[in-house]
Amino acid sequence: MTTPFEELAGLDRLIHEPARLSIMTALAACKSADYLFLQRLTGLTGGNLSSHLSKLEEGGLIQIEKRFIDKRPNTQVQITEKGRIATERHWIQLENLRKDSQMWKP
């Protein structure tokens, strides 16, 4: 049986960071979203959002596609199957942790 600390330490840090969790949560709820939408939704600066997206892409959790729509550059972000599974698993872990924490003794 794992201890509460082990459970907490076992969380995927790549997803657990609040901004990245927001991004992954949003992407898991749709097929894809563009850069502007994610920026408006999370309130992150352009630089920070790019950095978070790069980390998620490196981890294979999202796919980034750059293209032109009406002669304007557009960055489309899509969650991968691995990312979807990881996000769902993370939510289950958080939910279990929340339930377990109610039984923890000081």
Binding site: A33, Y35, F37, R40
Partner: protein, 208 residues
């Protein structure tokens, strides 16, 4: 935005929250109702409905560009798209049937109003299916108001539409639908704007 539940809700229902899209359609309906109400005998000049429709389509195009360039683009999941198509198709068939019955018979209730009310409820359940919460309360509120309005005559309030200066129950209900569409559109847009952070973060580079 801090609440992850709200993030999921906005991402899932981004298209539905683009409320300004509904406003030109609502105004188009109101103008067409006013034009129909002003008719004496057979209509000969269709300039008003045609101009209303063209104006609405142009405005719809402009609003679409506004959302695209201000809030960005989201592609819905195939499941969400399928469900919306199914509800739209079933709702459309029921609405046409109800309209035909309303026009063909003198009924104590407005069937088109009841179908619209049921449609709002069905859409509300679809929207809040994945994400529970007290979001978009104007859907059930509108459904109840429309249902009450549809059975007002049955409840003994006869010719209520004449108080509004309209000639028939169908025109009264259609006007109510048009006004509701405009109000719901504004409400949806305000909800979307309030759901998003008003300004971008500052000095939180340590989160990376």
């Amino acid at each position: 935005m801090r609440d992850l539940k709200e993030i999921r809700f906005v991402a899932t229902n981004y298209y539905n929250l683009q409320g300004l899209r509904a406003i030109p359609l609502g105004f188009c309906l109101v103008f067409v109702i006013l034009w129909t109400n002003s008719l004496q005998g057979q209509a000969r000049n269709f300039l008003v409905p045609v101009l209303s429709l063209i104006g609405s389509l142009i405005l719809l195009f402009a609003i679409d560009r506004y959302y695209l360039h201000t809030f960005g683009r989201v592609q819905r999941t195939p499941e969400s798209r399928r469900l919306e198509w199914l509800i739209s198709a079933v709702g459309g068939i029921l609405a046409l049937g109800a309209l035909w019955l309303d026009l063909s018979f003198i009924l104590p209730v407005s069937l088109i109003g009841l179908v619209f009310s049921a449609g709002l409820l069905a859409d509300y359940i679809r929207i809040t299916w994945l994400v529970k919460g007290r979001f978009l309360l104007y859907y059930p509120l509108g459904a109840v108001l429309m249902a009450v309005l549809s059975i007002l005559q049955l409840l003994g309030v006869s010719n209520w539409w004449q108080v509004c200066g309209l000639k028939s129950q169908l025109l009264g209900i259609s006007m109510a639908i048009g006004i509701f569409t405009i109000i719901a559109g504004i409400w949806g847009h305000i909800f979307l704007v309030c759901s998003l952070p008003s300004r971008v973060e500052t000095n939180n580079d340590h989160t990376i």
